[in-house]
Each structure stands twice: as C-alpha cells, then as structure tokens.
Symmetry: C2
Subunit: 355 residues, 2 copies
DNA sequence: GTGAAAGCGCTAACAG
DNA sequence: CTGTTAGCGCTTTCAC
C-alpha cells in the first residue's frame, strides 16, 4: 500500500530529495535532463505524493471547507457545485460538510475543518443565533465568508442576495396580478434569510396596501412536508388569501401539492410563489413563479472574498447581489395581462466596513 | 491568527509535550491532576489541534473520500447523506468530491484523495470503462468500495441494488397493469447501472411476451432534459408503446413533463416508471411509480465493507440488496385492479470471491 | 505516570 | 542549477 516516498524517487533518479521536490512541484527550475530522470523514476515507482506532509511543511492545504445546512436541499447543492467549479479552476479542493440543521454538528465540522488546516471556510450557518459563537470563533482564526445565510452580529464577510429586493419583486408582481391579501410560509425564525424575507414581506404588504393576518404567517422549516402541512392549515382556516408567498421553493412545492390534493386551483383560486429557483421549480404543475439567485455570481464573489481575506484580513465586506423574478404559471390568474415590464437587473454593493 | 501548538500548552501546564498529547487524546492514562492542568491550559490558550501533523505521524486521517458522478442528482445526495451519517457515528469524516460525469475530473479527485491519505474511498464511478484504470489503481493502494455503479472487470468491493430484480418488479407490474409493449429511456451505455437495467429490461420484456423496438430504446443521459427530449422523439415516432420505462427518476420526470405538454395522459395513454425513488418522485403529477433503493442499508453495508477491507484486504465482496417496487399514479390505467400481491422483500448476498 | 528524543514525508533556507 | 540541513506539529517508543 501507499509506500513510495520522495526519498525513493530521489535514490532512483540519483538526485537529492530537494531536487525531486522541485522537479515535481515545479517550484524552481530544474535541468531538462534531471527533470526527465525524476519524472521517469516517479512513474516507475508509482509515486503519488503525500499532501499531508506537504501541507504540514507549507502550512497550506489548498483546500477550503464549506458547511451547508442541508446537502439534500437543491439550492445548496447547486451553490456547492458552483463554488467547487470556481475553486477547481484555481486548483483548490473543497471539503464539504453538512450540518444537518444542527448547530452542534455544525460546530463540530467547524472545529474539524480548522484542525485540518483548511485555507478558508465558506459557511451558510444553520442558525441565526446558535451558530454565532462557532462562526465568530472560526473567523478569528482563518478567512471565513458567510454565504446566503448569515448569523446575527458578526463582522465577517458575507455574500448573498438582497432579500428585501426579492420580496419587493415578488409582491409587486402579485399585486399587479390582482392579489390584495397574502399569507407567508417560512421556516421558524432561526436564520437571517428567514428574518429578512419575513421583514421584506411585511414591508411590501404594507407599502402596497395589501392585507395579511397573524394566522397567515406560518413558520416551520424549509421542506416540502412543511409546505404541505402549512397549506392545509391555511385551507382549514376559513378565508383564503389571494396569494401564498413561500420562503423557498421546497415549501412552495409542498403548498402546490396540498392545493392539488384539496382541489384548490393555482393560480386562479390562490397564487403561489417560491424562492431560489431550484431546478424542480419549473417541473411542478403549475410551474412555480419564484426568485432566481445568481448562483455562479455568488460563488465567484465568495471565493474572491476568501482570497481577499487571506491577504487583507480584518475588513469585512457585505455583498448583496440582485435577485431576479422568474414568472411561471403559479401566479397571474387566467385572463390577466402584464400592466408593466419586469424588474430584476443590476446589483448593489452594500457596504465595506469594519466593526 | 497564529496557531497555538501542543508545545505552548505543555509549557503553560508545566509538563512535556508527550504528556499533553496523551492527556488530550486519551491514548494513555494520565494523573487526574495533570489531566486537569492540561485541559485548563489548552482552553486558556484556545488550543485547537492540528490534524495534519497528527495524520502525518499516525499515517491515519480518520477521513474517507467519496466520489459521486453528480452532486445535483438527488439520488446521490441522499446516498451521501446516509453514508455521512454512518461515518459520523464512528467519528470519521467524509471528503466529498463531484466528478461531474467526467472521467478526467474523477481521476484527479482519486489522485488527490490518495495524496490526502484518506483511510478509504467510496466511489460511484462515472463511466463503465474509462473510470476503470483509475479505480483499479486506487483500489490497489487503499481500501475502496464501489457504490451503486461499478466499473467493468474490477475486483473491488461493490454494494448496490439488484438491477435485474428491479426490472423484473417493474415489468411484471406493468404487464399486470395491461402493458404489452414498452420503450426504455436511459443514459448512454457508459456505466454498469445502465447496462444492467437495459439487460434486465430486455430479458423481462421477452420473458413476459411483451414487445419493444430498436427505436424505442433511447440512450442519452440521466437528466430531466434528456427525459423530455427522448419522450418527444417517442411521441413524434408514430405508434406509442403502452409503457415508457425510464432508467432513473429524473428521466421519468422529464417524460412526464413532455406528456403533459403534449396532452398525452399518464397512465391512461401511456404508463411511465422511474428508478431510485428520489423525494420528488411522489411530488410530480401524476406521482411516479418507481423502484426504491434501500439507501441507509446500502450506506451501512458500504462502510462496513470498507472497514473489512482495511483489515483483510484482497478479498472482494459483491453485495446486491433487494430493491422494492413503489406503485404510485403513473402506472395502472384507470379501471384497473391488482390481480395479485406486490413483490419486493428479502435480500440476497450475491457472492464473495477473489479474482 | 511522565519525559526525552526520534522521526512521519516534505519543502524552504542556505550554501555551493 | 543542485545538495545539505533543518524543521512543520504531533505521536510514540524507550527509558526512568
């Protein structure tokens, strides 16, 4: 098994270990002749390197750790995919961890990533407050950027989407499509996305002169199952709102499902919107109107920020990218036609400050 | 930012570094008094360990690498989730890599995992033949088990589902539901799942006296988009089969979508089946009849095999678990009633041999 | 039960 | 350009 070391290659090529290291890593120029001998010796012996030893010596792993709340949530997997793609282009690897929505598990992952000497950490914290100390602690030791969600009151970098803007797009669209009352189904208020989306919802409802009710604000979790249950509650509750605004696509898909089972027609009886624009959003029936996040852009920005933090450190940046409205079949009741053009372009850099 | 080492802890606790190591890892007993001092010193200094150094010394990382063809395929993410769960119970970590269906990327990941000295590798190879050499090479150096898919002609451990049995369940069900002809939509024949499922399909079609045609066997990729396109081809091709058997749920969901767009009723005009039973299978309309794979069981078996390989080495085992039929709305045309009970229990250990 | 010392495999000085 | 030397931070004999 895994035996052959640089020393054996050196012996076979009749050079020093240092030369082998240089020839193989290309850190410094080596004569053609020796280069050839080393390469040959390495392949003959099946040398494959030991990045553990290399990492110890260089105190660099070329690896970044990423922690997401749930690996089965399509939104996060596509984010992971984008991040990994960007990283791969720079020859770095991603160490992926799933916190399964549990702050304790998340804390463990963070600890382990630090012990593994990753060069930086990208995290979407699972909890708005309980994740705070671990995230803050990690950020004090190495470059860390929060993605999508963020914990309250930390001074680390963050990249995500402008949730207020997202809610504005959604509610203006619904309002224009005739909705005058709306319910909001989300996860329990344990993270920033949830809080910002709810705040945005309330603000826009008020601004547009729409109505909502306390019983129409349902907080559970980001899952299809919760979307189903919440919608059942809504349907059982008597009067139905004109629209059900869901805090993510999974919830919205559950809502759609319940409506179909109960014989409620979408969008004619009730309009439904999602958030994230996961792949399945356009595959359900009716296809889901939702907010699209610029995932590749978010990923690129995140990695860039990580690199910045490596050299600069200390100065935190919050980057909010503009979301886009994607109109499909779950809104705009039949007979309706758009009164004015769509929104959803541009971008704004939120701030760049140190606390 | 500067990492605190065991030496600093030792100094502060006024003991040797060896003692600190022992106290912290619990490798050997240490007096209560010293134990306390070390723990205190460690936490006061914010010591967090360096598993790189530890790994180098112990030549053990307590990490296993996992390579999947696509992290956005829900089937694989749920498999990953199961595996990670099992591993976590033993205090080991998972290093996840996405080969993006590219043998070259896969090869790179394998190399990198070996260089990282992972204790073992779990892989679902992306290609039936092109993945072979890299997989074989890795397997010669460290414990490796293939999951779900496997490359042709290797002698490594494998855990998956009995695809022949899966096809038998599916086709007997369709036959009993009145289907006498069937099409098969799958990915291009570049991996074992595909091959086995296609072989199983043909065998059962023949055994049950059903018909198929060369133009009804459509090979593309495991994706919703391909399912859509293939089904369009089918619909444009004149006579329609009684059933469309899809090699995975994504393809089936695409097929469903095309049928709806084209006004073809499922299951009355054509029955459709999937494979894998991903979460979304029951959320589409009509809900998908499919084959369920015992994911937790597969994961547990895989990890067990990995541990076995660590100590034994050399003897390969192929473990095929029994799949189960899940009947939903996309089969059994209206007015139909089940003539006999369902199948899908039990399990069989395929073999245990060395090549 | 504890300490001293010898490396794990590699790379970064520092000569030559 | 190439070799020699000195560790990276930790675990583990081997003594006491």
């Amino acid at each position: 098994m895994q035996r052959v070391t640089i020393a054996q290659v050196a012996e076979r090529a009749e050079v020093s270990t240092a030369t082998v290291s240089r020839a193989l890593s290309g850190a410094r120029p080596v004569s053609d002749e020796i280069q050839r001998r080393v390469i040959a010796a390495a392949r003959e012996l099946g040398y494959s390197g030991n990045s553990i030893a290399s990492a110890l010596r260089r105190s660099r792993t070329d690896t970044v750790g990423m922690v997401v709340p749930s690996i089965t949530n399509p939104f996060f997997t596509s984010l992971v995919e984008s991040v990994e793609h960007v990283l791969q282009a720079e020859g770095r690897q991603l160490f992926l961890c799933d916190s399964r929505q549990e702050p304790e598990v998340e804390r463990g992952h963070l600890r382990s990533l630090m012990a593994r000497q990753v060069d930086g950490i990208i995290i979407s914290p699972c909890h708005g407050s309980e994740s705070a100390s671990a995230v803050q602690g990690a950020a004090e030791t190495l470059p860390l950027v929060q993605l999508d969600r963020r914990v309250a009151g930390t001074s680390t970098d963050w990249v995500g989407v402008d949730d207020h803007e997202g809610m504005r797009l959604l509610l203006e669209h619904l309002h224009a499509a005739g909705a005058r009352s709306a319910a909001f189904v989300s996860s329990a208020m344990t993270n920033s996305s949830t809080e910002l989306r709810l705040a945005g919802f309330k603000l826009q409802v008020e601004r547009l002169g729409m109505t909502t009710r306390a019983e129409w604000i349902l907080l559970g979790e980001y899952s299809v199952a919760w979307g189903r249950r919440a919608t059942e509650t809504l349907l059982d509750g008597g009067e139905l709102p004109d629209a059900i605004v869901c805090a993510d696509d999974l919830i919205a898909i559950g809502a759609l499902r319940t409506c179909r089972v109960r014989g409620v027609t979408v969008p004619d009886d009730v309009q439904i919107t999602g958030y994230d624009d996961i792949d399945f959003a356009e595959l359900v029936d009716p296809a889901l109107t939702t907010i699209s996040q610029p995932r590749d852009r978010i990923a690129a920005e995140t990695v860039r920020l990580l690199a910045t933090a490596e050299t600069w450190g200390g100065t935190a940046a919050h980057t909010a990218l503009a979301p886009a409205l994607v109109v499909r079949e779950s809104t705009e009741p039949s007979g309706w036609s758009p009164p004015y053009p769509r929104f959803g372009d541009g971008e704004h850099q939120e701030s760049s400050s140190r606390s």
